[in-house]
Symmetry: C2
Subunit: 357 residues, 2 copies
């Protein structure tokens, strides 16, 4: 007898459902997949049996027969200097939207190296790959090209040819921050960026933000100092002190390192500088951080959720053999809160927040 499946694994199989509903196995399959027309009557009978027996298709069998695992891999970084909450937001957004496309998510960390990717992809454990924290010259990029699986990168490598990448337009984000400060009349600003290790690795977003800041500053006749910034409170404090010692007239700060946001505020307070009265601060960080800070920070949020969703959507397109754009950059939006104000250049200030003189 074929009812053995139930005995062996405790789970009903498609054969059990078919028998219970009095139809062929293939009919059950077609009810489930919708790939052929099935009469209303039959469909309902089958669905009733499925519910009654508590049937769940066996993932392995399905993957084997259909050559689709309905699983995508998410490769997360574990490196120093990563922005943990942002990464987490990505991850959850990816899981949620993958589920909405009927896919599950396999979690990989980079510490298994490229071999892990190869194993997963070649073994058909996953249909496609989502890679986070991409470096400008990432070792995984050539591998992705070689692998025969669709992939989407979150972040931009130096050469995007033949790839599919999604990210916030960090270059533009840098510009937007400076433009906001410049519009308020600030003439000397500083970027407190990611930790030095992140720049050294050639991580795209850090470099792109910096470039955006520098470029916008030049265009607006603003002087910009950029420097990396570690995460410890003590280090931040030191940086800030040195910064103001060398450039006492800096009145605008762009902070990219979310872990440093709190310490920066503390350091400013400790040195007697009030925000935004003496120094305006713009952060590039999750909204939640900006909201919870005190004062609440004017910020350019990193739309982790949106990027994750987009990345999954693009991957799904590629899984369906549809074409996908090489680069998708999301436009940054700046949210004005309580940490930025008109630069104090003299007695007069315009109603639009810019100074005169």
């Amino acid at each position: 007898m074929t009812g053995r499946g139930r005995v062996a694994s405790g789970q009903p199989t498609i054969a059990d459902v078919a028998r219970h509903a009095g139809v062929a196995v293939s009919t059950v399959s077609y009810v489930l997949s919708g790939k052929r027309a099935i009469s209303e009557v039959t469909r309902n009978r089958v669905l009733a049996s499925i519910r009654l027996l508590g049937y769940h298709p066996n993932a392995g069998a399905r993957a084997l027969a259909s050559r689709r695992a309905n699983v995508i891999a998410l490769v997360l970084p574990l490196r120093s200097g990563i922005q943990v909450p942002v990464v987490m937001q990505f991850a959850t957004a990816v899981v949620t939207s993958a589920r909405s496309h009927d896919h599950d998510v396999l979690l990989l960390t980079s510490d298994e190296g490229p071999e892990g990717l190869r194993r997963i992809a070649a073994g058909a454990l996953v249909d496609g790959v989502l890679v986070m924290d991409v470096e400008l010259h990432d070792v995984r990029v050539p591998l992705l090209r070689e692998l025969r699986r669709p992939s989407v990168l979150i972040g931009l490598p130096a050469d995007t040819g033949g790839l599919t990448c999604v990210d916030l337009d960090f270059h533009r984000a840098g510009q937007v921050c400076v433009e906001h400060l410049a519009g308020l009349g600030h003439r000397r600003v500083a970027l407190l960026g990611a930790p030095a290790a992140v720049y050294d690795r050639g991580t795209g977003f850090a470099h792109r933000t910096r470039a955006g800041v520098v470029e916008a500053a030049a265009r607006h006749g603003v002087e910009a100092v950029t420097l990396p910034c570690e995460e410890s409170a003590a280090d931040v404090r030191r940086r800030v002190d040195v910064l103001f010692a060398r450039h006492p007239d800096i009145s605008g700060l762009v902070v990219q390192n979310e872990a440093a946001v709190g310490p920066v505020q503390a350091a400013l307070a400790a040195s007697g500088r009030r925000v935004p009265h003496d120094v305006s601060v713009v952060a590039v960080c999750p909204d939640q951080f900006a909201e919870h800070a005190s004062p609440r920070l004017t910020s350019v949020p990193v739309p982790a959720e949106e990027i994750g969703r987009q990345a999954v959507a693009l991957l799904m397109r590629k899984l369906g053999d549809e074409p996908a754009p090489e680069v998708t950059l999301l436009e940054p939006r700046l949210t004005v809160r309580d940490s930025t104000a008109t630069a104090y250049h003299g007695p007069v200030a315009g109603p639009d927040g810019t100074t005169t003189g």
Copy 2:
């Protein structure tokens, strides 16, 4: 011909390897699994063919035939008030140690609800389940019992009967913090705990810590105030102000909410209290946080890595049908850093860096 596999999927199959090595398919399988003796000569020939062809076993086929997916599920919370970096540490530890047991990790978020768990488990996508952020009366617990898959919980529900749970001994952690402060002569301490929502949910660790604090305080003749604590800087500040307004003689603080650690320090500084001179602070948080704070914090670290490793090890035992203990509690260790000192009760203090007079 059977070489079709290569054509269809581009991937060599076990049959290709067998043909290339001039052995039977089953022999290749036994070389890979080691479940039967294979001569040195044959083994090497097979391994050479595997390498040469770049063979990777098809995960679906393997899962189907062996009834083992070699994948475990990790159920992560997405709720408010969770400690993101800690969760992330868990996740990475779980992935890493799962890999060392030749398993991969499927990431689930709770927002699909218990149904997600059922789907995954019943569909044999995973062999076992790791559940994080367990509440005292968690809806998933009955489901886990009903499911026929091994599971391990990270955290403790109210009733652990028939389950396998791992966690830091938070009760003991609360005690340890208070004992440390008591030993330094502090007579009035406060616990700034998790956000109120976390207590309301009945999340074990928060309640257990509080109980430990209260109990140890009673035993050592210390007065203890406990209160929840949100994550925004402004809220922390308010809490701290209220706290000291009502209990001006509090000289020791236990902070459990890692997101609040920075703001607490800032709030103390703002109110003119020096750490540790005026107030001693003990945190329950990842070491990394404690190290990066300023001053560096005396802390009881949450050994996320160790817990993750243990959880995976236990799950592997259960997958192998070996018995596993119902509850595994890790002993907390307190690391003394620069944020705690002798209470100032009078002119005398020890030689360990505390003041005299």
